[in-house]
């Protein structure tokens, strides 16, 4: 019995999230557009996330190279290290890790912020002040996450590749030019474009889930904490599901 109740709750929530996402396209995309708030959110969500994304990307590239190197030396393909690391970072590891870092930082932040605004009646106050809170709070944040994550992913990839370059040079000597020449020669648009396109969906998922969890936060501080927490968990799971679908779709089009 308990199982069926939980299943019903699960499907209810899925339906509510789908409706909430649908409202983004129907209500959120209608004028009046909140351009000033959108730019403020892009600054907060994009620019302020750059140091974290850059640092984690750099370490990821460095560690990945150092871990791969011994195996590649064993098989006598150490010269292919830049190509392998480059493709792995650009196609898969860069977008997914950046997406997960983004979900952790921004998903929780949006969930907690909107949850706290809900609990302290600030969302109601906004409505009384002649503002549609869905447009002002939700639409701006979802657009900002959708636009900023692809940019952050590309920058994160660049930091990762630089980390990989440092990693290669710890045990051997490779010039900067040769290292990046190898990578860019092996990469095609079919490697880059699907990876970038899927990050728009990652960003949209992080924004929608963070806003949904915050907007419908239960009363009390525990509710706010729970909103932030479940926003991260659900957004992270969704990132993996979208990634899986993206792989299937690119395979269908012969882009793998």
């Amino acid at each position: 019995m308990d199982f069926f109740v939980k299943m019903r709750e699960y499907f209810n929530q899925t339906g509510n999230i789908a409706r909430f996402a649908g409202n983004f396209f129907t209500v959120g995309m209608k004028p009046r557009y909140e351009i000033k708030e959108l730019l403020a959110q892009c600054y907060f969500i994009g620019y302020n996330s750059l140091p974290l994304v850059g640092l984690t990307g750099f370490i990821m590239g460095l560690v990945l190279t150092m871990q791969l190197r011994p195996s590649m030396v064993t098989y006598g393909v150490a010269t292919e290290l830049p190509v392998m690391v480059g493709i792995a970072i650009v196609r898969e590891i860069g977008p997914v890790i950046t997406g997960l870092i983004f979900a952790g930082k921004i998903g929780s932040s949006i969930g907690a912020e909107l949850g706290s605004m809900k609990v302290t009646e600030q969302i109601d106050a906004m409505e009384v002040a002649g503002t549609n809170p869905f447009k002002y709070l939700v639409a701006t944040r979802v657009v900002a996450t959708t636009l900023m994550l692809p940019i952050l992913t590309i920058l994160g990839d660049a930091f990762s590749l630089f980390g990989a370059y440092i990693g290669v040079n710890i045990k051997s000597v490779t010039s900067f030019h040769l290292f990046f020449n190898d990578i860019f020669h092996s990469l095609a648009y079919s490697d880059l474009m699907p990876a970038v396109i899927k990050t728009f969906f990652f960003g949209f998922a992080v924004g929608i889930i963070g806003c949904y969890k915050g907007y419908f936060s239960n009363k009390g501080t525990r509710g706010v904490g729970s909103s932030a927490n479940s926003a991260v968990v659900l957004a992270s799971v969704l990132i993996f599901i979208i990634d899986l679908l993206a792989v299937q779709i690119t395979d269908l089009f012969g882009l793998n």
């Binding site: 706290s116 302290t120 009646e121 600030q122 106050a125 009384v128 002040a129 002649g130």
Partner: protein, 255 residues
């Protein structure tokens, strides 16, 4: 379409500004408002008294359009609020101020930005010079002229309540809805807020509905007291009339 800040509130004293008829609102099986009726006249301070969970806050949230009633009508200046579209609701909201129980100050904005928000969002036809003057006047009205650049987190409970009141009054509303304005304040600050409510009501000639179970607040602010019991308007009269009542449901609030 831009509108101007409400210049002054005119109209006859007997004019009904809010007429609520047969209002019903339930949350699941819990019938909070059951055939509730109330009329508020111009310049009148009506206090709605009731136990916690009686539906007092639900009532004023229905009046401002934050909650949709299940049935009944709420006429504000002749417009039935539950039937209004978003645009018309915004037009009504420029004339109706709402003081939240938790103050609901936007904590990421300064006091000045909090006060300016309504002015900018309601498409009010004002210049930056007008906005500066209105903010200054609003802060002086509540006795906190030097707080414009402070953040809400830097304010004490009493100061936050005054700033919330200033924000409510900045559009010079013709009706003000107060949700438990003195809850959580010490007795001295609570009496100061009472005086401020009466002072501003007289200055701007606004009508008010005050939700409270603080009997000092009721005594200091009410022209008329309505007791909300079991979702209905149980009784209605002046503070003195209710104070003298022999009815046990009324007496329990004055003991």
């Amino acid at each position: 379409m831009k509108t101007a800040v409400n210049a002054s509130n005119t109209g006859s004293k007997n004019e009904a500004v809010i007429v609520i008829e047969n209002l019903c609102k339930a949350f699941g099986d819990n019938m909070v408002l059951d055939d509730f009726n109330l009329t508020v006249h111009r310049d009148e301070n009506v206090v709605v008294l009731g136990k916690s969970g009686a539906g007092k806050s639900v009532l004023i949230k229905c009046i401002i359009g934050l909650l949709k009633p299940d049935s009944g009508s709420i006429l504000v200046f002749g417009d039935n609020v539950p039937e209004l579209n978003h645009e018309d609701l915004d037009r009504i909201r420029t004339k109706v101020g709402f003081l939240f129980q938790s103050n609901a100050l936007y904590d990421s904005m300064t006091v000045r930005e909090n006060l300016e928000f309504s002015l900018r969002r309601h498409w009010i036809e004002v210049t930056q010079h007008d906005i500066d003057n209105l903010v200054k006047e609003a802060l002086e009205n509540v006795g906190l002229p030097n707080t414009a650049d402070m953040m809400p987190a830097e304010l004490s409970g009493g100061m936050a309540k005054r700033i919330a009141l200033a924000r409510t009054m900045i559009l010079k509303p013709e009706i003000i809805l107060y949700d438990e304005p003195t809850t959580g304040l010490d007795p001295v600050t609570a009496r100061e807020i009472d005086k401020l409510i009466v002072k501003l009501q007289k200055k701007y000639k606004a009508s008010s509905i005050i939700i409270s179970h603080d009997m000092n607040c009721v005594k200091n602010t009410a022209d008329r007291v309505v007791l909300l019991l079991d979702g209905k308007c149980y009784t209605d009269g002046t503070y003195e009339e209710l104070h003298m009542s022999a009815d046990k449901n009324v007496k329990q609030f004055f003991e």
